[in-house]
């Protein structure tokens, strides 16, 4: 039992190490110094308080999208639509943030809740289509990413503004950013959203592990037939799981709208927060604590990597390849598991 647990911790650690090693080899092949490269990565993520703040800022939505994808995974659903749900949540948060006047204790919670609802709504449709008609959620959620993206752009341009590229800034009463955090981290955009993200992780753990709702969702995720046999309403659980998943992703959007940017621009493409959330969830083994750790890793890689071109001269395309390698090895942990087992066997 204990050796098993140790093994479960060893595998992701090893994966990250091998990923870094592969990245180093790539850098060597292309004639760059991997030590300098990784030093630049580290400095770019933790070099000073500013970058530390930016890393936390990036980790915040990753935790939420990771939780969103993980939650759906637990019910056996592959929510590729976190991306679209992020956009919906972002738009809704900014909408409330710009169009309402209210004291902060009403305005901010309202904006956050509406963002969650917007994400939930976008996820609800694939959920109900899956439950009632058996339409595969992957296809529907992919399409809804586009629907959300272009609808949001149209709404920004035609409803929230008059043909402008971005919305007004949200009112201060709807903002998650804090003077104190900004000053403390020398003007990084770190905001209070990280507390929300951690709270949501706690909520997810609680729902999944401690409630009958989580019991049913896990049961449906593992075995639909047995769940139906045991009298659970499989369809209801599918829809519920999608709604909760969407709400989490919507919250991730509100982090961008109320925290990082304070407004929303017309998106020329996807934010990638939702797609990265898939990798975060996978790496985090679909558990709340795992998602937090994976989100930190992704945030560090994402923010730190920006420093590699300037500081170590590694071109940003190559940085993408290196990061992809790290993610690849981390995500293919069962390959690592296999290798470790072979070693164990060989040693014996």
């Amino acid at each position: 039992m204990t050796t098993n647990r140790l093994f479960n911790i060893l595998v992701p650690l090893f994966s990250v190490l091998i990923g870094l090693l592969a990245g180093a080899i790539i850098m060597l092949i292309y004639g760059y110094n991997p030590i300098e490269g990784y030093a630049a990565l580290w400095k770019g993520a933790f070099g000073d308080l500013y970058f530390f703040g930016e890393t936390i800022r990036q980790v915040t939505p990753y935790i939420l999208t990771g939780l969103a994808v993980a939650f759906a995974f637990r019910a056996g659903l592959f929510n590729i639509g976190a991306e679209g749900q992020v956009i919906a949540g972002w738009l809704a948060a900014v909408w409330i943030g710009t169009s309402i006047e209210a004291p902060i204790y009403i305005h901010l919670p309202l904006a956050i809740i509406v963002a969650a609802l917007a994400g939930a709504l976008v996820a609800f449709i694939p959920g109900i289509l899956k439950a009632k008609l058996g339409v595969h959620e992957v296809i529907v959620t992919i399409m809804f990413n586009y629907i959300a993206l272009y609808s949001a752009n149209a709404i920004i341009r035609n409803v929230l503004t008059e043909q402008a590229d971005k919305t007004e800034k949200i009112a201060a009463t709807a903002s998650l950013s804090s003077e104190w955090l900004a000053t403390f981290t020398s003007y990084s955009r770190m905001h209070y959203g990280i507390l929300i993200a951690l709270l949501v992780a706690l909520i997810m753990w609680f729902i999944i592990e401690k409630t009958t709702i989580g019991f049913e969702i896990r049961s449906v995720g593992f075995n639909k037939h047995a769940s139906e046999y045991a009298g659970m309403n499989v369809n209801k659980n599918i829809i519920l799981a999608m709604i909760i998943s969407g709400a989490f992703a919507g919250l991730a959007g509100s982090m961008e709208g109320l925290g990082t940017f304070g407004n929303m621009s017309i998106q020329a493409g996807f934010t990638n927060l939702g797609f990265d959330g898939i990798a975060v969830a996978l790496l985090g083994a679909n558990t709340a604590i795992g998602v937090i750790l994976a989100a930190i890793l992704f945030g560090v890689l994402k923010v730190g990597a920006l420093n590699m071109p300037t500081e170590a001269g590694v071109p940003s395309e190559l940085v993408d390849v290196i990061i992809a390698f790290i993610i690849f090895f981390v995500a293919s942990s069962y390959l690592i598991r296999w290798i470790l087992l072979r070693f164990k066997k060989g040693a014996k």
Partner: protein
């Protein structure tokens, strides 16, 4: 288990495609540096190498990167030319860039460049407006510049272009060239800035021939080559024979489609009008004997970046000002590289209209509302 395997293969595919993209990017780089060398030669002809002291300059791109064959690339060429002029190397002591992977990267990129003590930092593109405004407020003692939009701050120089004027001339050329009396416009994202291209182009075309039909479409994406190709295919299929694109990387799809059509049907007369840089090369066919690029609406971002940098170095940083680069100062112009297509009568017509704009006889509309008025006056 099966799901895991599927995911694994998706990831594998992903990694490999990253590889391919990276390799492709590397090749492009090579070609681009050749281009850059050419422009550099021109630039250095009239400027002897000067001493720069310890002045350094950097730019932050949007998600397109410095090899977008368009806007960012042009700006980077300007910085490279400036570096050449002053004998500087790429890097923290000379000139450098930071590429953004997505919108949230703009500010950290600026901050890092500020921390690296660059004397002036450019934000390339209107997408960076908020980021420039924020960073300028946080660092009141540093110089910043924004291209393509206006940020009102004492330490920010705003560089804009009279794109409507250049686009007007492109419209004139298109109207002279078309045989079907149908031309197309492909915009990147429907926005004030791109509307200037659209409106100028329509006004130019209708000034030559009020009956000309201009089809307008937006890809809603500056980075979707496939979408550009699809829209171009639809346009060419509906009898349009000249397409003007103001869509960054998306516009490369228009070139690809035009070249595909020409490959199958070499006699078909279809044209593309490029944007931002002289896109003659993008339109060349396989044996480089002919190009589908009729002309390009050149926005000399390189000149503007170069000039503003030099001004800042000379202690004359135009902080808080908006500098408009128009036809007069060659901030915008139309390319005449494709002599086979850009015939003498087109050239003279364009010159004629250019003169009218320069001497104030003609006021080119900048927005859809102004265009309506303009059309009524025709």
């Amino acid at each position: 288990m099966r799901k895991n395997k599927l995911l694994l293969s998706i990831l594998l595919l992903f990694v490999f495609s990253m590889f391919l993209v990276a390799c492709g990017g590397a090749n492009d780089d090579k070609k681009e540096t050749n281009d850059a060398d050419n422009t550099n030669d021109e630039a250095t002809e009239d400027n002897a190498t000067e001493d720069s002291g310890d002045f350094s300059v950097a730019m932050v791109t949007d998600t397109g990167g410095i090899d977008d064959k368009s806007f960012n690339q042009s700006a980077w060429e300007g910085l490279e030319a400036w570096g050449e002029e002053h004998g500087l190397e790429k890097g923290a002591a000379g000139y450098d860039y930071a590429q953004s992977e997505d919108d949230s990267d703009y500010l950290p990129n600026f901050t890092r460049l500020v921390k690296n003590d660059f004397n002036i930092i450019f934000g390339i593109g209107f997408l960076l407006e908020d980021a420039v405004a924020d960073i300028a407020e946080q660092n009141p003692d540093n110089y910043f510049a924004i291209v393509d939009t206006v940020v009102d701050a004492p330490n920010v120089a705003s560089i804009t272009f009279a794109e409507h004027e250049g686009s007007f001339l492109a419209g004139v050329a298109a109207a002279m060239k078309t045989k079907t009396n149908k031309v197309g416009f492909l915009g990147g994202v429907d926005s004030d800035l791109i509307n200037k291209f659209e409106v100028g182009f329509v006004a130019g075309a209708k000034s030559v021939n009020p009956d000309i039909e201009v089809q307008i479409q937006y890809a809603e994406d500056f980075n979707a080559v496939d979408k550009g190709k699809l829209i171009a295919s639809n346009m060419y299929n509906s009898d349009i024979d000249v397409i003007y694109h103001a869509a960054g990387n998306t516009g490369n799809g228009v070139f690809a489609e035009a070249k595909d059509i020409k490959r199958n049907d070499p006699d078909r007369e279809i044209w593309v009008i490029g944007v931002d840089r002289d896109q003659h090369e993008e339109g060349l066919n396989e044996d480089k004997s002919a190009s589908v690029t009729l002309t390009s609406m050149i926005k000399r971002v390189d000149i503007s970046v170069h000039e503003v940098t030099n001004a800042a170095m000379a202690g004359e940083f135009p902080g808080g000002e908006t500098i408009v680069f128009g036809l007069e100062d060659e901030g915008v112009s139309v390319a005449e590289t494709n002599e086979d297509a850009f015939t003498e009568d087109i050239r003279s017509a364009v010159a004629e209209w250019e003169e009218k704009i320069k001497n104030g006889e003609l006021d080119v509309p900048k927005s859809r509302a102004e265009l309506k008025e303009f059309e009524e006056g025709l």
